[in-house]
Each structure stands twice: as structure tokens, then as C-alpha cells.
């Protein structure tokens, strides 16, 4: 086990780094700038998606459709889903943290294809703006983020076509990113660094990128056929012209189920980085974690039809997809047990990063349990397309991925900016988010089981109180954004100076200045062969040496 510490910064080469705020608006090729661009851009879209979610929850405080016109409600829910998936979670867990961290982790100066990387990012803002602006042109798409035909063929065409174009651009961006990550992880590793010595996030991104590259083109092809159906009146999915609506669903979910793993696998990777550092213990079960990721990638590709149990699927197909889906619980379970084992016996600093990570574990376990239940055909038939499913996937993508995004921001903000976030405000943010989130989504399980379908603007009056409770939770979640925003903005000017390595971490991004220089390290890239070597006497001594050197 060796750690080579790079030499201290020398003043001359610091001039190479482009200074100032403007570089974040430029076609920068620096993976760290691109990472921050992804993160901030994604967060702005998150605010838009969150505002749309608030509009939905306001509409649902009363059982009648009274807050907005019915077709606008469908546009709002379509935009909410599309923005949160394609413009917030996918770009941030992959693009933002992937770009920032992967070159550090493999000991590289940048990504394999820096220009492709910049192109991948710069596809996102125009696609997002186009998607949102479609509302002001002729009404946005109103067939949900799933865009099932024939509804997507019969609703106003302009909004649907703009929706397809934006999703195609975002899918393209995602594929460019995926290719780049695979090339970087496999080919740009620092000499001497073996695959099984990489930090877990690299494995998560390798798995995710394989899913991106295999499944996103299928979505692209499907949406192109759908756009032909809309503009050229072809009949691929149009039953009046001999098309088949079920084929669309198969093709759509062939991408969109792996998309769930594209949203959560990187989050798994990020948590695997955060937990060992703040509990001062090695990551438990590294090898089984790696195999679990690859098992999830493989199984994730063969479970798509569990979204279609009520679509008229033959019994044998229902059974196959039930069993395949249920078995994803095994590798996923291994990861969760390993994380708890990582915490167990550690010296845990109860900071905002670890709180959000543990919030993630708790929320995701609940989402995973309802997921296994939903995989069972007879159970799914009753609750499919109801608020039970809405609750389930928000536990996965919000309680899972978004909690990890916040955890990661608290963890890496010192590296991004050189300053610490305010810990007290961070905890207020966590409590508001955790309580608000559970208050918003836990009651929706009951709503779904008792007869409230999803994507409705009006419902049976017996559900009014529970819906209001859920809306109150949504209000807390909306409010929780305020302390967070204040924290990140205020701390970037007034936050405590972080120094190189405020968490005493061993992964390579911490073995350089905060924020790091243009080419990541001033000297040679450090060779970290045991990124989780906490708790070892020898290491502790190395750090003490490092500390005394500084003083």
C-alpha cells in the first residue's frame, strides 16, 4: 500500500488556471469546470421541476380540478417528470460528479475526450430551455414522461415534437458522457493503478455507462419512430394504421427501466465514497460491492416488462419479469448491508453529509421493499398506475438519488470552492427535507392502495385529508431549499476556509489544493492503491507527518 503525496503548490504554475466566474459560461475543456456546470445547471432545472411539483401538490389539496386547467395540469406533470429525470438527476449524478471525480480517481489530468465532454454538457441547456419554452409556444407535451401512444399521437403535436427533440438531445448528451466515462476509467488509469484498486464510484460509473451506451440508443430510435407517427402519419405505434401500442411500451421501458439504475447506481457509488470517510472505516466488502454493481447492470437490462403487467402481457412473460426483478433485491441488499457494516464500529462524524447519506439508506430501503412487492404480478395488478407507484419511485429517485446529491454537495463543496458549508444550516436543511419528504410520500402508499390513480387532477373526496397532508410535506420540502440555497451562496463568500483535505480523506481528489489546479495536481498524480485504508496505524502516521509538514 503506497500513497505518493504530490509536491506542494508552486506559485508560478497557478497562473495557468483561468480565473474568474466567467469560465463557467465558456466552452471550457476542464473536467472540473464541466462538472460544476452540470451541477449548477442541473440544480437550476431542479428548482423549475420543484416549482412544477408544488403546482401539482397545490392542485391536489382539493378533490376538484380548480387550480389550473386540466390540460395544463397534464403539461405540468409531463414537464415535472421529464425535467427531474433528464435535466436534474441523470446529468447531476452522472455528469456533475462523474466529470469532477472520475479523472481524479483514475489519476488522470482530464477526461479521455475533453471536447466531447464539453459538447455533452452544452447540449443540456438548449434542450432544457427548449423543453420548458414549449409551454409558451403551443402548450407543452401532455402525455406524461412516458409519452405512451396513441395519447402522444393525438395530443397537440407541437409540444410533443419539442419534447421528443429535447429528450433526443439529452439522450445524446448522456451517450457522449457514457462513452467518455468508459474510455476514461478503462484507458486513462495512472500506471500502477489496478481496476480492483479504484474507488467504488468508478465501478458505479462504469456500470452506469454500460447501461447508458446499451439502452439509450433504443429510446432514441423509439422516439424517432414516434415522431414519424406524429409528423408523417406513419403507423408504427398507431393502431388505426395497423401499429402496435404495446411495442412502444416494450421499447420505451427497455431504456427507461435501466434509466432508474442510471439514476441510482452513481448515487450508490457516491455513498460508498462518503460513508468510509466520515465513519473513519474502510468500505466494507469492496469485492462484493463490485460484483453487486455488475449484477445490477445485467439484471437491470432484463426486467423492463414489470412496468407492463397490466398492459396485456402473457402469463409466462409476467412470471419471468417477476423473478428477474425480485432478484435485483439480492445485489442491492448486499450493498445496503455493506454500508451499514461500514458504519458499524466506526467513529462517525454526525455532519450533514453523513445525515443525508443515512437518510438515503433509510428511504431507499423502503423504496426497495415496495419495489420487490411491486415486482409480484398479483400485487402489482391492484396498485399499478396508482399513487402507490408514485410513492415507490419517489422513494427511489428522491429519497435515494436526490438525498445522495445533497450529501455529495455537503461532502465535496469544500473541494469545489475551497470553503466549508455551514454545518448548522446543513442540519436544518436535512431535517426539513427528511421530514417533508416522508410526510409527502409515505401517505401516498395508502392513497394508491385505496383507490387513487396517478396523474389525476381530481379525485374521490374521501382522500382529501391525506392529500393535504402530502401537500404539507411538499411545502416543507420546498421550504428546505431556502436554507440550502443561502448556505451554498453565503458560504462561497464567507465560509470557513477548507484547506486541502478537511475530512482527512485518502481518495486522490483530496490530495491536492481546494479548488484543485487546472491539471488536478501540480506534480505527478498520486498513486492511491487503497482508497479506503482508514483505521491503519501506518496511515495515521503518514497524515500526522503531513500535518506537521504544513505547520
Amino acid at each position: 500500500m503506497t500513497i505518493t503525496i504530490p509536491p506542494k503548490s508552486n506559485k508560478e504554475s497557478e497562473g495557468l488556471q483561468p480565473k474568474g466566474f466567467l469560465r463557467y459560461f465558456s466552452f471550457s475543456l476542464d473536467h472540473k469546470v464541466i462538472g460544476i456546470q452540470y451541477l449548477v445547471c442541473g440544480f437550476l432545472f431542479y428548482l423549475v421541476g420543484g416549482a412544477l411539483a408544488s403546482a401539482i401538490r397545490i392542485e391536489l389539496t382539493s378533490p376538484i380540478s380548480d387550480f389550473m386547467p386540466r390540460d395544463v395540469y397534464n403539461q405540468v406533470l409531463t414537464l415535472h417528470g421529464t425535467i427531474m429525470i433528464f435535466l436534474w438527476i441523470v446529468p447531476v449524478v452522472n455528469g456533475a460528479f462523474g466529470n469532477y471525480l472520475i479523472p481524479f480517481y483514475v489519476g488522470a489530468r482530464d477526461m479521455a475526450f475533453p471536447r466531447l465532454n464539453a459538447v455533452a454538457f452544452w447540449l443540456i441547456p438548449p434542450a432544457g430551455l427548449m423543453l420548458i419554452s414549449s409551454y409558451f409556444i403551443n402548450g407543452a407535451a401532455q402525455s406524461g414522461w412516458t409519452a405512451y401512444p396513441p395519447l402522444s399521437i393525438t395530443t397537440p403535436a407541437a409540444g410533443q415534437i419539442i419534447w421528443i427533440l429535447s429528450v433526443l438531445l439529452l439522450g445524446g448528451s448522456s451517450i457522449f458522457g457514457g462513452i467518455n466515462f468508459i474510455a476514461t476509467i478503462l484507458k486513462l488509469r495512472r500506471p500502477g493503478l489496478k481496476l480492483m484498486q479504484l474507488p467504488m464510484y468508478c465501478w458505479a460509473m462504469l456500470g452506469t455507462s454500460i447501461l447508458v451506451v446499451l439502452s439509450t440508443p433504443v429510446l432514441a430510435g423509439t422516439l424517432i419512430l414516434l415522431s414519424f407517427d406524429i409528423v408523417a402519419h406513419t403507423g408504427f405505434f398507431n393502431p388505426t394504421l395497423g401499429g402496435n401500442v404495446i411495442v412502444y411500451q416494450h421499447l420505451f421501458w427497455f431504456y427507461s427501466h435501466p434509466a432508474v439504475y442510471i439514476m441510482v447506481l452513481p448515487a450508490f457509488g457516491l455513498v460508498s465514497e462518503i460513508l468510509p470517510i466520515h465513519s473513519r472505516k474502510p468500505l466494507f466488502g469492496y469485492t462484493t460491492m463490485v460484483y453487486s454493481i455488475m449484477a445490477i447492470v445485467f439484471l437491470g437490462l432484463i426486467v423492463w416488462a414489470h412496468h407492463m403487467f397490466t398492459s396485456g402481457t402473457p402469463p409466462w412473460m409476467r412470471l419471468f419479469f417477476t423473478i428477474a426483478t425480485s432478484f435485483i433485491a439480492v445485489p442491492t441488499g448486499i450493498k445496503f448491508f455493506n454500508w451499514v457494516a461500514t458504519l458499524w464500529g466506526g467513529k462517525i462524524s454526525l455532519n450533514s453529509a453523513i445525515l443525508f447519506s443515512c437518510g438515503f439508506i433509510v428511504n431507499f430501503v423502503l423504496g426497495g421493499i415496495t419495489g420487490v412487492a411491486l415486482a409480484q404480478v398479483p400485487f402489482d395488478i391492484h396498485v399499478h398506475d396508482t399513487y402507490f407507484v408514485v410513492a415507490h419511485f419517489h422513494y427511489i429517485v428522491y429519497g435515494g438519488s436526490v438525498f445522495v446529491i445533497f450529501s455529495s454537495i455537503y461532502h465535496w463543496y469544500p473541494k469545489f470552492t475551497g470553503r466549508m458549508l455551514n454545518e448548522k444550516i446543513g442540519r436544518i436543511h436535512f431535517i426539513l427535507t427528511f421530514v417533508g419528504f416522508n410526510l409527502c410520500f409515505a401517505p401516498q402508499h395508502w392513497l394508491g392502495m385505496n383507490g387513487m390513480p396517478r396523474r389525476v387532477a381530481e379525485y374521490d373526496p374521501q382522500f382529501t385529508f391525506v392529500n393535504q397532508l402530502s401537500s404539507f410535506g411538499a411545502l416543507l420540502m420546498a421550504l428546505s431549499t431556502l436554507p440550502f440555497l443561502w448556505n451554498v451562496i453565503h458560504s462561497s463568500f464567507k465560509g470557513e476556509i477548507a484547506g486541502e483535505n478537511p475530512w482527512q480523506a485518502l481518495t486522490p481528489e483530496w490530495l491536492t489544493s481546494s479548488p484543485p489546479p487546472v491539471e488536478n495536481w501540480l506534480g505527478e498524480a498520486p498513486l492511491v492503491t487503497d482508497p479506503y485504508g482508514y483505521g491503519k496505524k501506518q496511515l495515521q502516521e503518514q497524515f500526522n507527518d503531513l500535518e506537521s509538514e504544513k505547520q
Binding site: Y73, I334, I348, R455
Partner: protein, 272 residues
């Protein structure tokens, strides 16, 4: 020889399991069970709920306990133990979920079979005048095994469902009339053949625990046997346009005599 902490762990686990089971049998989270499917479904739900509650509470407790017990005390600068792996433990928590998942899968297969999901569809189609071999009819869920013998199958009441934006229409081929409400006699197996005129809809009766998409260009089949008289909502569960939330109807389950009166009043053919 058990250590005191192990005894406590054991006691906590037992009380957790007992408490979980008690809650599940005393708090009803599901709506009224009004079809022969529903009690079977509720049985599956209870089993899944018990397993889920135990798993969730266990994981939740482990995380909260770790955060409290292993928190860094002020002044403590040491690292935790360098435990990297523990093969028996890892095998244990790979094997246990695998067994649980396998059990759940087999059990839900059994439930699905008891709901009639595995029966070949042409056996369920005897109530039809339309020959199912002429067109490809896709499966919903079958009849309950309580009613799976051929005699009852032959007697199943055929209804043709047409869905459109934003209503369901029910045609009774035996009486050659169309109704906006679905009237069915209690205890009789209903065999519905459903098709949509425009976009995808879904036929859902929460009290019957059944749902099946109604698809344009692709007829689907759904069989059920109501067991309780009453009026239950029929809800469209697939986004179908602006008035999707308002696309509701009612299924009226009546005693056979009352149903027969209603049928005779509406029928356009002479009932033999």
C-alpha cells in the same frame, strides 16, 4: 453461552416480529374486499407487509443505532476498526435475501395461480359468442380457482367493455343493450372483453383488486367474481387525456334476482 447484548438483540428481534404481525392483523390498509380475488390478494399483501416491516424496521434501527452508538465523541481523533470484509457475514446476507426473494416469488406465483392468472385464456372464453381463435386476445387475470370448474365457466356472464375518452360503455351481448354502469349479479363470474376506441385506458376496481389496460386495436380479457353486493367505483388508471381524473364509472353488484329484473328491463332480446 449468550452474551447479554446477544440476548437483547434476540428479544428486540422477537418483539419486533410479534409487534409487526400484530399491527398487520389489526390495522387494515386496504379497501373493502368485494371479489373472490380480493381475499387472496389481501393474504399476499399481509405476507409482503410483514416481511417488509421487519426488514425496514431492522435496517432503520441498525442505521440509527450506528449513528448514536458509534458517533465521534468530542476529543476522539482515532479511526474506526480496519474491518474490510467478513466472508461468513457476507454469505449470510446474500443468502438470506435470496431465500426471502425466492420464497416471495414462489408464493406470489401460487397466489397468481389461485387468482387464475395461469389458466390458458381460451378456457376462459366459453361465455363468448365471438370465437377467440379469430383474433389475438391478450390476458388480464383469470377467474378465481373457486369458480374454475367448467360448469361455472360455461355460465360466466359475458360483457363487452368499450372505453373511450372519457367513459366506459358496457354491452351485454345476451340482452343486446348498452349500459353506462356495470351491473353484475353477486357470486357470478363475469367475463369481460375490453377494447378501446381511442387511447389506452385501464379498468380498475380497487375493491376487486383487479386492473387491466384497455387497449386500442388489441382486445383484452378480464374475469372476476364479485362476492359482496354494493356500489363500487370503476376508475380509469391510465393517463388518457385532460379529463382522465374524471373518467369514472360504477359497478353495481346486486342479488341475482334484482340483477335479473334490471337485465330484463333493459334487454332488447327475448330472454329464454
Amino acid at each position: 453461552m449468550l452474551k447479554p447484548s446477544a440476548i437483547i438483540t434476540l428479544l428486540v428481534s422477537i418483539s419486533l416480529a410479534v409487534g409487526g404481525v400484530w399491527i398487520i392483523y389489526n390495522i387494515n390498509l386496504l379497501p373493502e374486499a368485494a371479489s373472490s380475488n380480493a381475499p387472496v390478494y389481501d393474504e399476499l399483501f399481509r405476507v409482503l407487509f410483514v416481511i417488509g416491516v421487519i426488514l425496514f424496521v431492522g435496517m432503520f434501527a441498525a442505521v440509527v443505532y450506528s449513528l448514536i452508538e458509534f458517533r465521534r465523541r468530542p476529543g476522539d481523533q482515532e479511526d474506526g476498526l480496519p474491518v474490510k470484509e467478513n466472508l461468513p457475514l457476507e454469505i449470510f446476507w446474500t443468502a438470506v435475501p435470496a431465500i426471502v426473494v425466492l420464497f416471495v416469488g414462489l408464493y406470489s406465483y401460487d397466489i397468481y395461480d389461485r387468482m387464475g392468472g395461469m389458466q390458458p385464456l381460451d378456457h376462459q372464453n366459453h361465455g363468448y359468442s365471438v370465437s377467440s381463435s379469430e383474433e389475438k386476445v391478450w390476458g388480464g387475470i383469470g377467474t378465481s380457482s373457486n369458480n374454475s370448474n367448467m360448469d361455472l365457466q360455461m355460465q360466466s356472464l359475458p360483457v363487452e367493455v368499450t372505453a373511450m375518452q372519457f367513459a366506459f360503455l358496457f354491452r351485454y351481448p345476451k340482452g343486446d343493450f348498452i349500459s353506462g354502469e356495470l351491473h353484475v349479479p353477486v357470486g357470478q363470474t363475469i367475463s369481460m372483453r375490453m377494447e378501446s376506441n381511442d387511447v389506452i385506458h385501464a379498468f380498475w376496481v380497487p375493491e376487486f383488486r383487479i386492473k387491466q389496460d384497455v387497449i386500442p386495436g388489441q382486445p383484452t380479457i378480464l374475469n372476476f367474481t364479485p362476492t359482496k353486493p354494493g356500489r363500487f367505483p370503476i376508475i380509469c388508471a391510465e393517463l388518457c387525456g385532460p379529463y382522465h381524473g374524471g373518467m369514472r364509472s360504477t359497478v353495481v353488484v346486486e342479488e341475482p334476482e334484482i340483477y335479473q329484473d334490471w337485465f330484463n328491463k333493459n334487454s332488447n332480446t327475448i330472454v329464454s
